[in-house]
Structures are given as C-alpha cells and as structure tokens.
C-alpha cells in the first residue's frame, strides 16, 4: 500500500499536504528516543571500555601519575611472557578436554528429553538445574567435597575402590584438571541439551514418518535426518561451549587459585593477576585485546558457518 502511494505521488499535479510525513518524522524521533537509553548503556559500559582498553594496551599505564605511549611494546613482551603463554596452552588443553564430552553428553540427554512422553519435561528441568545454579556455587561445593578423607567425592570413590580416600585432588595439576573437567561437563551438558533439543523439535515430523515408511532404522534416521538438520544447533552449542572454556575463570580461581604454581592458570586468570595483583594495567589490557580477538574470530566463524548453512 505505502509503496504504491509513494510511487504514484509525483504524478499528482498538486501534492496533498503530506500528513503522513510529519507523522513519520515524529515516529522517527520517538523511535530514536526509545533506543537511546540502551545505546547509552552499551556505549558507556561495553564499547567505551573496549576502545579504552585497546588504547591503554599501547601505553605503560601506571596506577598513579602520567603515562607514556609505548606502541606495541606490551604485545611484544607477551611473546616472552611464559606465564601468559602457559595460561594460553593450559586454556587450550582444558577446552580440548571438555568440548567433545559436553557435546556428546548433551546430545544423549537431548535424545532423552526431546520426546513428549510422560516424564520428559520433569527430566529436562532436573538435568538443567546444575547449569542454573551456576559454576561458582558448585565450585565451592567442590572445594569441600574434594578434600582428602572428609570430602564426599573422595569417600565415595574410595569405597568403590577407584582412588585412595586421602587423594588431594586440588593440589596436583592433573588431578585438579580432571576434577574440574568432570565438574564442568556435569554443569554445562544441560545447556547443550536444551539447545539441541530445541533444534530437534523444530525438525518437521513428516521427514521421520516418510523415513519410517521406507523402513529406516532409528540409527539411520538419527544419522541421515537429525544430525544434518541439526547442524546449526550443533555449531551454535559448540561455539558457546568453546567460548565459555576460553573465558574460564571462576572454577579455577575457587578450586585451585591457578595452582600448584601457575600450572592451572587460565588466560582470564593471567589478565586478572597482571591487572589487579601486579598492577601492570597496560600489559593486562594487551592480554585482553588478544583474548577479544580470539573470541571475536570464533564468533565470526559462527556467523560464517550459520550463514553458509542458510545458503546451502
């Protein structure tokens, strides 16, 4: 309607007073005023810190006094910063360990809860609870339950004959990584389950009906219908869990505080200690910029995959 009107308007010998236009201008102003608070929030507390941080990373910003512009010196020094490099390698190792289990466990759980059978909704709610409660609270619980001799996890595992009751999980790099990985897989699988379940439920039922007529087995339907049509959801949940692992901080800070030494220190932890323990604000900002670029690349990869999916 509106389009035809604009197209025919020039043919009119006398343009009627464009009552619609002043209305449109008023609308434009209202719309802009409505989004202004949100824009201001995001600009002040997210975009400005981003730009400011990038600027600080090019300086030797001290706690008090004047600062000097030092170019890329902070970035160059990162190359020789063994603590930072080690935290990158550790974060990659941790990410590599937890990503696939979270996807596979989440997929299995999604198969369980995607049906509309009796009980499915309750199971969905219960399995998702660890994610809702949050890793911080659960890490505190882990601190208590992983104690040698007194912790429930140690008592249980020693009764099953798996470890000795006196196992000190949190002061040994490998054991700490194992314990935290299991905790995180338990915590995060529920989210992957929900994302995959939403994807599975949006697949048209006719496809399965048609496959059944052709005598397809359960596995064939899963392999040739569900998984290909679920690609978007799978990519999305992978990206979410990889970014989450790259940004890991809470569980390591609470359970090991990066120790023993700095052997379980993650990237965000080295940023935190560079900035707020050593007060090397320029260095911390340079580390942050590196992290933002890496996380940004993953996000772009997500858009790329999802975009390609649409055009396929």
């Amino acid at each position: 309607m509106a389009q035809t009107q604009t197209r025919t308007r020039p043919r009119l010998p006398v343009q009627p007073r464009p009552q619609g236009r002043s209305q449109r201008q008023r609308d434009a102003r209202t719309g802009f005023l409505l989004v202004l608070p949100a824009l201001a929030f995001v600009a002040v507390f997210a975009l400005y810190p981003l730009v400011f941080g990038a600027y600080i990373s090019l300086t030797d910003w001290p706690l008090v006094g004047a600062y000097h512009f030092i170019g890329f010196a902070n970035y160059v020094s990162l190359i020789h910063n063994t603590v930072f490099i080690q935290s990158i390698l550790f974060t990659l190792e941790y990410t590599a360990i937890v990503t696939l289990p979270i996807l596979l466990v989440g997929y299995g759980l999604a198969i369980l809860v995607r049906s509309n059978r009796r009980g499915a909704t309750v199971f969905r709610t219960l399995i998702f609870l660890p994610f809702i409660v949050g890793l911080v609270t659960e890490s505190y619980m882990g601190v208590v339950e992983l104690q040698p001799d007194s912790g429930s996890i140690n008592v249980l595992l020693s009764k099953l004959g798996i470890v000795r009751a006196s196992t000190a999980w949190l002061v040994h790099t490998g054991l700490a990584l194992t314990a935290i990985s299991v905790l995180v897989i338990w915590f995060a699988s529920g989210l992957t389950m929900m994302l995959l379940m939403a994807g599975m439920q949006s697949i048209p039922k006719d496809l399965y009906a048609a496959a059944k007529v052709d005598g397809a087995s359960w596995w064939h339907m899963e392999r040739y219908i569900t998984i290909p049509l679920l690609r978007r959801s799978i990519v999305l949940s992978l990206i979410i869990s990889v970014i989450g692992s790259f940004l890991a901080f809470n569980q390591f800070f609470i359970l090991t505080d990066g120790g023993p030494g700095t052997s379980t220190s993650t990237v965000v932890m080295s940023i935190y200690s560079a900035g707020f323990a050593q007060f090397d604000i320029g260095l911390a900002s340079a580390m942050s910029v590196v992290l933002i670029i890496v996380v940004g690349l993953i996000s772009f990869a997500q858009f790329y995959f999802l975009q390609r999916d649409v055009t396929d």
Binding site: D27, A28, R29, G31, F32, L34, V35, A38, F41, V42, A43, V44, F45, A46, L47, Y48, P49, L50, I56, L112, S115, R117, G119, A120, L126, F128, L129, P130, I132, V133, G134, V136, T137, E138, V143, V144, E145, Q147, D149, S150, S152, W186, M194, L195, S217, M221, I243, L247, F249, N250, I271, Y272, G275, F276, I281, A284, S288, I292, V295, Q302
Partner: protein, 291 residues
C-alpha cells in the same frame, strides 16, 4: 485385550519407542546424576561443621543441626549483608534491564528511523564482547565516575551486558504483535507511550519476564566482575563473600559455613527457575533457533 496389545506392539514398532517403564527408569537414573549431588549438599549443610571436615562416621552422620546457618546469618562476621547486597544488585539489574530493553525493543520493533539498523548492530556487537576482557578499563572508568565499590555501579555494568540479549528478545516480542492492534490503538488516538502501557503491555509481558529472569540469574551468580569492581568486604555480593569464607578470612576455615553459604546461593536460583521455567526456555529457544 488382544487388540489393545497388538495396537501397542504396533505403535512401539512404528515409533521405535522403548516401553514407558524403561523410559522412566532410565530418565530417572540420568536425572539423579544431575540432581542428587545438589540435594546431597543441602543435606550436608545441616551437618555439624566437625562432621563435614572429618571422615564420615556412623555415630555423627545422622546428627543434623542449624548451627552452620545460625553462624552464617547471625554470627560476628555474618554474610547476611552480602546476601542483601546480592538481592539489591540482582533486583536493580533485572528491573533496569527489563525497562531499558523494553523501550529499545519497542523502538527497534515498531518504529522506522535513520541508522536504526546501525544502532541495533552496535547493541548486538556488545553481545560478542566478553566482559571478562574489559574489566581493567572498566575498573578505571568506574573509578573516575565514582561508581567503583558501589552496588549501583555493579548493577549498571550488569545491565549493560544483559541489554543486548534483552533488546533482541524484546524486539522480537514487539515484531510479533499484529500490525492491526498497533494501528487500532493509533486510530483511537493513543500516543506511542499510551499504546505501550495500555495496549501492548500484556502482549509483550512474556518477553519482559524472559529478559528480567536472565538478568536476575546472571547477576545472582556472577563472580569475576563483582570480585574486580568491589574491594570493600561490606559491599561484596554473596558469591564473592563466600571466597572469604573459603579461605578462612574470618578465622579458621570452616567448611560447614561454606556449604551452608553455597546452599543459600543455590536455593533462589532453583526457586526462580522452576517457577518461571517457561520464560527461560522461551529465551533459550529464540536464541538457539534464530542464531
């Protein structure tokens, strides 16, 4: 009987479904893996601190007490004020996020204006900024705004990082309102704010609930930001205060207190989630399916 059994068999073969009893058994066992540890911690929080820090013994195992909670909430260095801090920040964040996101969603969803696409893009860009990586500059910025060590400052920061998702959800809510309703309100002479309050409000309320719920859960469980931007014990939120309990800043390390504190932090999440679940899942699905 025979017909019913045959039909049942038929249905089972058609849908490749396991019998219901098997489904319920497997489902219950799997659910137990995720819930029993949390329930176990509630039980543990009622054990005396000595029973929590020592190897289990049959004599003391069933002895339950409120001593941990009493010590935490009324003791000399209680965490009651930290619980109150957490409530203040979480409520402030959800209310602010809900209001600002609703206005923005209304603007993006129902009004045409110049650069609206660009503005929406800027807000979504913030969705990709990990807040963990801007805390150092944010610390300096809040310091110069006198918002460091302030519950309001923390809530403003949480609001900013919850707005991109909230704005996205609210824009979709407003886009889903049929045009006829908007036009009818306009013909009746209602201005934009009038139609929002009296006509659109009930229609977008589920979106508002989703937005507020996510903001609440985020700020209730957030740790690193609060740890960085609060340096005064009295202003710590509950998750940060518990790290003091963990390291025994208030004297000897007492794991009874830590477990009880963790349970106090867990219960509101469960209550809020279980009662507002459908709004949570709505948000998840809209994010998941539209990418």
């Amino acid at each position: 009987m025979a017909v019913a059994a045959a039909r049942k068999r038929q249905r089972r073969r058609n849908y490749h479904e396991a019998p219901l009893w098997l489904y319920l058994t497997v489902g219950s066992l799997v659910s137990a893996v995720f819930v029993v540890p949390l329930m176990w911690e509630i039980f543990r929080s009622f054990q005396p601190a000595a029973a929590i820090s020592n190897p289990p013994s049959a004599a003391t195992f069933g002895h339950l007490t409120l001593e941990n909670y009493r010590a935490l909430l009324t003791g000399q260095d209680d965490i009651l004020r930290n619980v109150v801090n957490s409530i203040i920040v979480a409520v402030l964040t959800s209310v602010l996020t809900a209001i600002v996101a609703t206005l923005a969603g209304y603007g993006f969803g129902r009004f045409r204006f110049r650069f609206s696409g660009f503005a929406f893009g800027l807000i979504l860009l913030a969705l990709m900024i990990p807040f963990q990586a801007v805390l150092t500059p944010l610390f300096l910025e809040l310091h110069s705004l006198h918002l460091l060590n302030s519950l309001l400052g923390l809530a403003l920061f949480y609001t900013a990082f919850n707005l991109p998702f909230g704005t996205y959800v609210m824009r979709n809510s407003f886009l889903a309102v049929p045009k006829e309703i908007i036009n009818a309100a306009r013909v009746d002479g209602a201005g934009p704010m009038r139609s929002l309050v009296s006509v659109l409000r009930p229609l977008v309320l589920p979106g508002v609930a989703t937005t507020a719920l996510y903001a609440f859960l985020f700020s209730w469980t957030e740790f690193l930001g609060a740890l960085t931007l609060m340096t005064n014990d009295g202003l710590f939120t509950l998750p940060v205060a518990l790290s003091n309990v963990e390291t025994g800043t208030y004297g000897a390390v007492n794991y009874g207190l830590l477990i009880a504190g963790a349970v106090i932090s867990m219960v509101p999440c469960i209550v809020v989630y279980v009662s507002l679940q459908r709004y949570y899942v709505r948000g998840l699905v809209s994010g998941a399916l539209k990418g």
